[in-house]
Amino acid sequence: MAEMDQTLEQLIKKIEPKIQNSEEWEKLLPEVIEEVHTDFYHPLIPKRAVLAPRLPGVGTAFFDFRTNETYLSQEFMNQLHTEGELDIRTVLTGLIKHEIGHYVIYPRECSTLMYIHHFAEGQFKGHEKKVVAYWNDVKNNTRQIIKPERGKEIMSLYRGLNTLLEKGHIFNEWEKKLLELAQIDKNELLAIIRKYSVDRLVSGIYQDQYGKLDLGINLKGEYLEDKLEQLKKLDFLNNNNDEINLVLMGNIVAEVSEKLAEELKPHIQKMQEALKSTLESGLNSTDDEAGEPKSFEEKLKDMIQKMTGPAIADSPDIKDFSDQQLEEGLDKIIRKYGKWRYEKIREEVERATGKKFDRRGEKTSGGGRGIGTAKTNLALNDDSIPYYERLSRTHGLYICPKPLLVDVTNTYPEGSDKFRVGDPASEINVHSTGGRILPGITKKHKYRAGKKRDTQYRVPDLNIWLDSSGSMPNPNNGSVAVLASFILARNYWENGANVGVVNFSGDSAFLLPTRDLLGVYSMLTAFWGGGTVVNVNKIRQYLDLISKPEQRDFQFYTTEEEFIKQHGDYKRFYDKDIEIKLDQTLKETYNRIDTVMITDGGIYNLQEVVEYINSTAKITRNIIFLVDPHSYSNNWTEMNLPNTQVVKVDKIEDLIGLSIGLSKRLVE
């Protein structure tokens, strides 16, 4: 009984200070959060933080990018308070500022983290994760400690961490016991950790250069001295130098980490052996006071992490973001870094998260088959669709509605019926009972819906003439022309319009206006790579087809033979007939379609095309996108085409803020 009391007393002694501290932390937390919030002034961060007895797998603190909440480990804070000689307010403020800094300062955005992970991968001898973790911390901390008031708690936090290392108070009871079992001299091990500590190195920059406050770090005459001098040359505040700074810092961190790993290797081996031989001993019962029980391997892993750093193991990972954040991140990547880099980064994100982010198309290049039966030279590049689809999503487009003759639904009173309770009050014939509503006696109007033709402002259908001749960039290499066509197709489609495509080069492929957006995308990424001739007659026939719905059973044409087989030889009717003659149905067809031609302008039968455009301009809106506008832009501008908008596109940025069907300018 006496023994039992003694054990209980010991247990209480062990737990008591933590209970007291827990109350203190909780009491102080709202006050500190209020102060930090005032400092950051960021409305999206909730004014709360989660205090956990221990954070499994992290150990210290972290910022949850999904909920914008900060998680703090009480065990870690206690250690900083009692052994790191910091007052509890400083510990709390420093940690919260550091964590919120990851959201407000660096990496701040999911896309930055994706890019940095991608950039670092494979570059730092297997220490990539560590390099990125230190990089995130340095970028975050330097921006804060450069301001004396803002950064003072963060500086103190690092002083506390250094004190822990100097005192050798980095191991918990279980870890100490493991060292004993493995017969490892704790002081010898601590000397190695101290000698090759990247945390000391990084804190050295804070102390000497950015924070200008004594953190108790003196690297003179040590292995790290030279490394510190090299790091001091890097300007971490200049975001333009991020890549070079990351490489240079990463090389140093990797070199130091490699040395540390080498020195620690025999000790870790000893620990593993000791663990194996004493698996059945009472080692397991020495821990798990506050957290969940862990396997020995996990505990050893935590211990190794503690020895190798970083001291605050809170580096955000791609897995920490929600699907929506990842999608938005990829949207930013695609706009900033282009097709090749985007595809690489997307693959890495997919590997890291185990999720798929883009719908995949199949590669059908060279002599691919369309929906039709004949063999063609048209190369379908469906594997490029996801790239253009995502990139086009990040571009808006304003389409001016135009008056169109459309079928509208109209209601008219057909007769009357008895009004009953529950019928809509708007249908009551108030005159039937002299203004009084008497259910069963009062009459109500009976309505019927009917259709009629009316002119209303609507977004018309779209017909894209896409030049895919050899002089145009191949869709596989990131083509501005294809991107422009995707932006147009997507925005018209979102507005309920049908989209048709004429993909022309020496020959032409057609897709009649449709709501099948994937089919449209497939046609837009297809590539001929030949000469540039617009077969105007074929286009007329195509528009004729649109005007006769009964002929539209066959939708996709990629060869001349296929077209003639289905609809007869168009040349018989049109070859000598440049100007178009319009019957009423055809006129309506032209009227309800916006025609957009995307080309580099170098068209062989330019005269014929211009005549065609002029003759249709009276009834339809023509828009010409000139990609690579330097070569032929003057030819097109000088023509001064009526009712035709000419948009010059040189680079992707030129596609931002576009408007289709601009109202007439008052001043030329």
Partner: protein, 290 residues
């Protein structure tokens, strides 16, 4: 309720203190000036306009610099000029006593001209290893150099090389090793047309298939073909040796190229090597007729 005016509202409000940032002196960065020069190179109308680069970087720093260039990869001149710039850095570094250059191209998008015009000495060859793929002109016009490419290469790899050893683990494009002199070029995969064309005293080994005119117009060169070749292989070659092991190729090739002192060494399935000169071939034909 007592009403307060606008001034009253502001009375309680304290203007927050705007904190001044401390000044940080990082000194002159080694890379700042180099980056500026590189940007100049990208922007210049013509590469030759640019003054020579005097910066001397350690081999690992040159690789670090290559990685950093990816932020410029969307520039229209990136693909062609970056490699030339890197090659110049390699040359400067080599001249200052460094060697053993390693470039990691796994994260870099199609850089051409890597190892272009690099020159070592007979005693101390310039060593360049490319971890990943290389674009066009890799090791082109190189002299006294040893270039190893762990991936694939584009066209003109090792063209006009002199006394160089170029090893390609993957496939190579057109014109690989054309006009090479005293060089050893090994291709682990397939190669395009004109491989070893006009090569002089060179050893060219192709483990896979080769395109048209392989070893055409070569002089005193040894060309080994592991797979098949396109038309006109060895046309107009002089005193060159063609090593083959494909029986189909043997009958296709031998009657056409055994002129001008050329030889064919055919390795049978059993591993036995037989050398065929023009006269031996005629004799063998006569003997088989009987």
């Amino acid at each position: 309720m007592k009403r307060t005016g606008f001034e009253g509202l502001l009375k309680e409000h304290e203007v927050g203190k705007v904190e001044v940032e401390r000044k940080v002196d990082t000194g002159q960065s080694d890379y700042g000036e180099l980056m500026r020069k590189y940007e100049e190179v990208l922007e210049a109308k013509d590469y030759s306009e640019i003054k020579t680069i005097d910066d001397i970087l350690a081999p690992s720093d040159i690789n670090a610099f290559l990685q950093v260039t990816i932020k410029y990869e969307q520039h229209q001149n990136y693909d062609w000029r970056t490699g030339k710039f890197i090659s110049q850095l390699i040359q400067k570094s080599y001249d200052a006593g460094n060697n053993g250059f390693v470039l990691n191209t796994q994260k870099v998008k199609g850089v051409h001209n890597l190892g272009y015009k690099i020159q070592g000495t007979k005693e101390r060859k310039i060593e360049l290893k490319i971890e990943g793929d290389a674009g066009y002109n890799c090791g082109s016009n190189s002299k006294d150099s040893t270039i190893t490419i762990e991936g694939n290469v584009g066209n003109d790899c090792g063209s006009y090389s002199n006394n160089s050893t170029i090893t390609i683990a993957g496939n190579a494009g057109y014109d690989c090793g054309i006009y090479s002199k005293n060089s050893t070029i090994t291709i682990g995969g397939n190669v395009g047309d004109y491989c070893g064309y006009y090569s002089n005293n060179s050893i060219i080994t192709i483990e896979g298939n080769a395109g048209e005119r392989c070893g055409g117009d070569s002089n005193n060169s040894t060309i080994t073909i592991g797979g098949n070749v396109g038309d006109l292989c060895g046309s107009y070659a002089h005193d060159s040796t063609f090593k083959i092991s494909n029986p189909e190729l043997f009958y296709k090739l031998v009657p056409k190229i055994l002129t001008n002192g050329n030889k064919v060494i055919y390795t049978h399935e059993q591993g036995i090597e037989k050398t065929y000169t023009k006269w031996r071939w005629l004799l063998w034909q006569k003997w088989t007729k009987h």
